[in-house]
Symmetry: C2
Subunit: 390 residues, 2 copies
């Protein structure tokens, strides 16, 4: 086990009707005027935004709104938000939505207090030392951004989709999580969220660091829980407990708990970022395509941890033929994704002839010549994995 630091100070307020408490929470964390960030029309149409604004009003917290954040959020909205927050004197961000909205709010929060270009943080030219506080009302369990210090933004110029990871500066101070808000998610979006949270666990699980049994068991338990609850939710979208379990899983998958004390991989995420940046597909759908391809490659070239994954998560019987066991687990994972209505290859994503040269070039341009830690990928390997997803 490696040395580690772990600190997750976000206050999670979880359960029915909790969105009515966001005004009180903003005040608790010192807000006098919040920049309310949200996405498309569903937060408006469902009445959620009105309930949030009402809660703020009752708590005596002023607000100004920035809507229209799109999936795979891009830098122009961040610049717009920074300008608006400064002009209006907002002293806190309140994100109402899923990962794209939260990530945009985080980037704005860092940018408002920074003299230079906020993209400096993503381009690793500057480190986030201070930021406005961010609160969250979560509506899509997937990205885990409500409990993480991370933000993923795409720079439109060049389609660079970059993940910024901070230990604490961008962790939300609170996250309000009402599972009922997720009942009306389209099935495909629910499924994409499930693939995303599973990927967040697996990126950490596939590690060469030994002696991390506790974290392994937590990862395996979470994966088993997600698989079981996902099956319920796809049949009964308004099953409160199943929705609640998935929502909480999404947070635990990405707040750091599943990665303490070990090297993490993240190559599947990086490979997917290139796909969604170029083809603008849903991140979770891209992961459902790339992760099985990555696992298939690893079954051949570095099976170690995959065998444990097969036995403990997918109940594959123990066997001396570790590769076959691993491949059976990959098949089960693909069947599971398919049962959720997710694609498991480029065709399923609607991309008949992906430009693999472009994807490989962008991957290594953005992430260097060795990507990931479990079995670092050079251009030959990443190309082979993209090809396995055809």
């Amino acid at each position: 086990m490696n040395n580690f630091s772990f600190c997750t100070p976000t206050e999670f307020v979880f359960g029915r009707n909790t969105e009515t408490r966001c005004g009180e929470l903003c005040r608790k964390y010192g807000a006098s005027k919040v920049l309310l960030v949200y996405g498309g029309g569903s937060a408006v149409k469902s009445g959620l935004l009105a309930r949030v604004e009402d809660s703020l009003r009752r708590a005596g917290v002023a607000s100004v709104a920035l809507g229209g954040i799109q999936p795979n959020p891009t830098d122009p909205k961040v610049y717009e938000g920074i300008a608006l927050a400064r002009a209006e004197g907002a002293d806190m961000l309140l994100a109402v939505g899923g990962g794209s909205v939260i990530d945009t709010a985080k980037a704005i929060a860092a940018g408002v207090l920074y003299d230079g270009d906020f993209w400096d943080f993503f381009a690793q030219k500057a480190v986030v030392e201070k930021a406005l506080k961010v609160g969250v009302v979560l509506t899509i369990p997937a990205a885990g951004s409500e409990g993480s210090g991370n933000s993923v933004i795409t720079k439109l110029d060049g389609l660079h989709k970059i993940s910024l990871r901070t230990p604490s500066a961008l962790r939300p101070v609170f996250a309000v999580m009402n599972p009922e808000l997720t009942y009306t998610l389209p099935p495909f979006q629910t499924a994409c969220g499930i693939a995303d949270m599973m990927a967040h666990i697996m990126e950490r699980y596939f590690s060469n660091t030994t002696g991390v049994e506790v974290t392994d068991r937590l990862c395996e338990g979470l994966l088993k829980a997600i698989i079981g609850q996902a099956r319920i939710v796809m049949q009964m979208p308004d099953d409160y407990d199943a929705r609640a379990n998935l929502m909480w899983s999404g947070t635990l998958a990405h707040n750091g708990l599943c990665g303490v004390g070990r090297d993490e991989d993240w190559s599947s995420h990086f490979m997917e970022h290139e796909i969604s940046a170029v083809y603008n597909v849903a991140h979770g759908a891209g992961l459902a395509v790339i992760f099985p391809a990555w696992l298939t490659y690893m079954a051949e070239h570095h099976v170690d941890k995959l065998y444990q994954f097969a036995v403990r998560v997918w109940d594959i019987p123990e066997s001396d033929d570790r590769k076959t066991a691993a491949l059976r687990a990959v098949r089960k994972l693909k069947e599971f994704f398919t049962s959720l209505g997710l694609p498991v290859d480029f065709k399923g994503l609607g991309i008949e002839q992906p430009d693999i040269d472009l994807l490989v070039n962008k991957l290594h341009e953005n992430k260097g010549e060795r990507v990931g830690a479990y079995l670092p990928l050079d251009r030959t390997r990443s190309r082979r994995i993209y090809e396995l997803a055809l």
Copy 2:
């Protein structure tokens, strides 16, 4: 799943040599003079206390020491600490030790800023609204106090052993955790710690709240990890990874993660508190006696969750005869405790003829006529469980 709030702001600094960072951490959290609380001679003899004092000195943080905290800590030391902290103007507590030392430091931290008698908090006559900050250098993984807001103190007058639970006021701001510091723990103390952390998980696991699959899986995974790592540590006391996994398990067992969204039980802990208050046995040893007795009673009277415990934690084959499966799991748990050198009945604790009348009376006097939530215990039931431990 029930609504819940969850916030664990403690900064965990985990790994080799981390105790050399406690000065820097105290300064980060604003200390100018710390009251250094420790137990018996081992922290002195091992040189740990000197390393901690050196780290404080290098960080420019003054200190004054209060040693001699005993297991099952009592109120006189708390009064002594409060007086010393006030006289010396200490503005932070630094606990170097295990649960008893940390719990004493927490009680002092609350008492220093309170005009009345600190016992008011334990007697539920007052609520902790402010307290000095507490930092921890953990040397015994067991109580989980390094990551919890709780403190257990025994009032010598009447031997009332009372647990105070606060949502946040008494959570340590940081906990330094170096697994190497636990290599020299006597085997019996290591074993007691293992029983304690397992009990912290089981008190939360045995719940009637349904729809908590994620938390169930985390509990089950943690228990499986502890059982496996415990076997290694008892054979190889200086196996770094096994020590590290146990140490981190002790924290996760009790920081709230294993209980979110459900009713918790705690009757075994309350029953044990009466045993250790009256007979001054080690808390973990008392739990190794009481928990199997409680489980045996529940196999007969409320088997539901025990059956899942049997199948998922102890790999008992699924069966329609849930009671028999549950009793097999209890037998395995007892065999496991025995293999660690722990007692599993009063005789093993060295108590030939426990005064069960006294224990039952004190239990219900301190905790009311219905103790616990899984199957609330009246005097008939608690008596029967104490008898099952004979």
